[in-house]
Symmetry: C2
Subunit: 244 residues, 2 copies
């Protein structure tokens, strides 16, 4: 991991950009931390880190105020990383089907999500290796938001992730429901009740499928991008309970 | 309203029992309050105040720590109030149907819930009249928990109630779904995902029906009485946002 830039945000948060091989990422740490900080991995949709930056830095600031470090990396095929033609094609196929009012079948969802999960999850694990080797980062580790299937896979395969906030806001392959049954860490699931691009019943079925003994669903009125500020506060409270 | 007893609990909460005509009730106020306190009406199931006291006083203490006064009254036909044969009959009919594995039809639910709503709601409104005349009680007023149909009716007909925490843990007559559409105050709805005596899908349909623009559903794993402590904290946060 190579740090490529460093700046101090006005509220005492140190923001450092880094690269991990070809993968760009950002690390935010509270400057006032006296002990190694717990870490939250900030997931995001595959729209590119630059585009997502305002929302990510907002979540990072809120987390830093509670003493948490946060980090994120670019997803494969997004932002400044090389295009991934198969992913672009799958996205185009899905958009075309939705625009035409055709049913969004499993094949379309699988083609879009499964390769992304397969490629991204080992990258987040590699980032975790590097981040946890920094003296200012301790543990435990949480995962928050982004593509929910990536969060599910990480929760299953990565024992260092001990709690997760998942955003039920994207299409989930049927195969991920089986993985959901294997999740045993505490979960806090956010659902936007009127999410345009999401299937509410599938999200409720997924919540039901999670195998963990502590899971909470927070559903709020509004569309995909309308998550209310107090829902972010509640997610922070979840991490305070589990990561401190 | 006549106060009949008074004691100071160990954490600086003043507990006063009262009667309002034939109706017993309890008022808890934070002793340290310097200004008239906002008020939360504490709903409860029709099992009698004595039986519900441990859970009620726990909620009262948590609310007092945030500066809220809380009050509750006995429901008609419960506790030390005169028996209500029609209500007892309706409850027995429902229990018999459930024990026999028969479908719980609308008629059974209506017979149990609607008369209780009709009789209880004006009593809570009368209690509110008396409580708001006390110098130590100001406003705004919230309603929390108990029989959800009573909460729905109060939210619709009582303009002094400005926010409500509802517990989706009891059967709801179809007619109440129409009333739910008329609710316009902020709602925080609790659902126990594996509630034995409740219909999960009906609870989700009810949440969908509420007409208000701010509504949040907090669903937690577990049975009817298994509401986790952090769910109570989250409900408190809701009242802090809306009643302070």
């Amino acid at each position: 991991m190579q740090f490529t830039s460093e700046q101090c945000l006005d509220d005492g948060v140190l923001e450092r950009e880094f690269t991990l091989g070809e993968i760009p990422g950002i690390l935010w740490t509270p400057e006032s931390a006296s002990a190694p900080a717990p870490l939250i991995l900030l997931g995001h949709p595959p729209l590119g880190l630059r585009k997502m930056y305002p929302r990510l830095v907002d979540r990072a600031r809120h987390s830093a105020a509670e003493g948490f470090a946060t980090a994120t990396i670019e997803l494969p095929g997004s932002g400044d990383r090389p295009r991934w033609p198969a992913l672009d094609q799958a996205r185009a196929d899905l958009r075309r089907a939705m625009a035409a009012g055709e049913p969004v079948d499993d094949e379309l969802i699988n083609a879009l999500v499964l390769p992304l999960v397969e490629k991204a999850v080992p990258e987040w694990q590699a980032a975790l290796d590097s981040l946890l080797s920094l003296p200012e980062i301790g543990g435990p580790v949480g995962y928050s938001g982004g593509v929910i299937s990536i969060g599910i896979r990480l929760a299953v395969v990565e024992p260092r992730v001990s709690a997760a906030v998942l955003f039920a806001g994207s299409l989930v392959p049927r195969a991920m429901f089986e993985e959901a049954r294997q999740v045993t860490i505490p979960l806090h699931v956010l659902l936007q009740w009127d999410d345009e691009g999401n299937d509410r019943q599938a999200a409720l079925d997924l919540f039901d499928a999670f195998g963990t003994r502590e899971k909470t669903l927070h559903a709020n009125l509004g569309g995909h991008t309308g998550v209310p500020e107090f829902a972010g506060d509640a997610a922070n409270q979840f991490f305070i309970r589990h990561l401190r």
